[in-house]
């Protein structure tokens, strides 16, 4: 298993398989299925400053090849996260990455500040690409000047690895270049893709908040393109995410240039997914005598 280690700048992960934010709770929920410490890292559900109730009405739907969610960032807020949740994951023995979402610049900075001194928090993943919240999501990510400011100031505040999470709905190449120049450590590609769902029978929009985010197999080829472009054209470490359902999908992401990958929707299809993908990836590497996933890159 030695060869499975990957580095996200100063953070060494024991393997390149992480959970994707919002699909794995806080890491302890899946303990009922397997010891989540085996994963390379756990990325927790997005956290905001205040508790958020999330969206009313329908929140999830399945479509051909994917699912669409409009959770609306329900989360307990940073205080409860620090007080109640962090203690609960003390025994999970792997890197812990906190995903954060703010409605404005100050909120992002506040969250990073709060998390900066905690030994249990190994890195932050900054969500600037949520398609189903009114503020702090895509609208934030589309403002290039704001992104410049955000990344620079986050870098000042937060000493451990900072990961920025983008989606194809954003000018991701431009953003990735800014990130690289501002010393951001990695980019997660991709978040869900903004989508609209209509309930034909009821003649209404399916989600109260109008938009949802598309994830699952349907977005894999789009995610691969973003991973490839960011890794190759920008030259910044990329954490691949989007429709990874099997170890083969993960291999495709490594081939496209990802340093590590995240498992999202697959956790809903089978709660053991992340674990099984890790296991199968290990056999694949062994069988093919590949010593590090970085050897898989095809460019």
């Amino acid at each position: 298993m030695n060869e499975l280690k990957v580095d996200i700048s100063t953070l060494r992960l024991k393997n390149p398989i992480m959970s994707a934010s919002g699909t794995f709770g806080f890491g302890y929920e899946f303990m009922e299925y397997y010891d989540t410490s085996v994963l390379g890292a756990i990325v927790c559900k997005g956290i905001s400053k205040e508790p958020r109730r999330g969206n009313y009405g329908n929140r999830i739907a399945e479509i051909d090849g994917g699912i669409i969610n409009s959770i609306g960032l329900e989360n307990p807020g940073i205080s409860e996260f620090l007080e109640k949740i962090l203690p609960m994951i003390k025994t999970i023995n792997t890197a812990y990455i906190v995903n954060i979402l703010g409605s404005d610049l100050d909120e992002y900075l506040y969250l990073a500040e709060k998390l900066s001194e905690l030994p249990r928090v190994d890195a932050i993943e900054v969500n600037i690409s949520c398609p189903n919240v009114k503020a702090g999501g895509l609208s934030f990510g589309k403002d290039i000047n704001l992104i410049k400011d955000l990344t620079r100031r986050l870098r000042d505040i937060f000493p451990k690895p900072i990961i920025i999470k983008v989606s194809p709905d954003l000018p991701y190449i431009e953003i990735a270049k800014i990130c690289r120049n501002e010393g951001i450590d990695a980019i997660t590609c991709i978040n869900t893709i903004q989508s609209l769902l209509i309930d034909v029978e009821k003649k209404t929009f399916f989600f109260n908040n109008l938009y949802g985010g598309l994830s699952g197999p349907a977005i894999k080829p789009i995610a691969l393109r973003v991973v490839y472009q960011v890794a190759k054209e920008v030259g910044i470490p990329v954490i691949g995410c989007g429709g990874i359902m099997s170890y083969k999908d993960a291999v495709e992401f490594f081939m496209a240039g990802a340093t590590a990958v995240q498992i999202g929707t697959a956790n809903f299809t089978n709660p053991l997914s992340a674990y099984e993908i890790l296991k199968d990836l290990m056999s694949y590497l062994e069988k093919n005598k590949i010593h590090s996933v970085s050897e898989l890159r095809i460019w």
Partner: protein, 272 residues
């Protein structure tokens, strides 16, 4: 304890009106399911599992078996209905809370609408074992949908049936039958077991379409009968991580069916 598993199909029965019962060989490493709890069953042709309540759990020569009863309504249930004896189904569970029972309330009113029979039948068998007095209300659209009538009759002190086509039981909606029955009880049969102590001795359990549950609870709560309902929502993970399975109380509070439910105190949902 194992929560995710592949279980072998030992029996498939196709009822009328697109109902299917699926009996699986249980694994004794898994938690024993309680009435009200559900499992996520994974069809082959969908991305997400499908939540199905436990319809029965029994042992034959120490070996456990679990039974599900579901109606074919879309592609997932269609796919599950095509399982054959000897096939394996991936599933995870048991999930969620269960219908609470009380030592001091030995009168139970069960109200099932359509496929709401699935969990309430299981509940009835448990209550029967515990020697509850069971008053079972069971309504369906078409009389063909009625399932387990004989067994229900054996377990219940009184069984009320309504069908919208009027071919069996009383013609009409179960909510109307329930309402008139309760009113009769409370007005003319004050000393009926069901209602001494102003209903404090009775518990009501309801499962069915949203609108039916709301109407039933309106009646039962107005008579101060402790009432539990089993709610549905779009379940994606069934593991408490996606936060997709919310339902809303009349007061606007959000609950997660797979974590705080699927069984709720009716007062929590309808009275805030």
């Amino acid at each position: 304890m194992t929560k995710y598993n592949q279980l072998k199909v030992v029996h498939v029965r196709h009822y009328k009106a697109n109902y299917v019962s699926l009996t699986l060989s249980y694994d004794n490493q898994m938690e024993i399911p309680m009435p009200g709890q559900f499992f996520m069953l994974k069809p082959h042709n969908t991305l997400l599992g499908r939540p199905i309540s436990v319809h029965n759990f029994f042992r034959i020569l120490k070996k456990g078996y679990i039974e599900f009863l579901f109606k074919i309504v879309g592609k997932g249930t269609k796919n599950l209905s095509e399982l054959k004896r000897g096939d394996y189904v991936s599933l995870w569970g048991p999930i969620g809370n269960s219908f609470p029972t009380f030592e001091n309330k030995k009168t139970a009113i069960l109200v099932a609408g359509g496929r709401g029979i699935a969990p309430l039948f299981f509940l009835a068998t448990k209550l029967f074992e515990k020697r509850y007095e069971i008053h079972f209300f069971y309504g369906v659209k078409k009389s063909e949908e009625l399932i387990h009538i004989l067994r229900l009759r054996n377990m219940s002190n009184k069984l009320f049936i309504s069908t919208e086509d009027g071919k069996r039981g009383k013609k009409g909606l179960i909510t109307d039958l329930f309402k008139s029955a309760i009113n009769t009880y409370t007005s003319s049969l004050k000393d009926n077991l069901l209602f001494h102590d102003q209903g404090n001795n009775a518990v009501c359990y309801v499962c069915g379409p949203d609108i039916m549950m709301e109407k039933v609870c309106e009646v039962s709560l107005s008579h101060k009968i402790k009432t539990y309902i089993s709610l549905e929502s779009h379940i994606a993970c069934g593991s408490g991580v996606c936060l997709g399975c919310t339902v809303e109380s009349t007061g606007g509070q959000l609950f997660h069916v797979c974590k705080e439910g699927p069984v709720f105190d009716a007062e929590e949902i309808y009275c805030k």
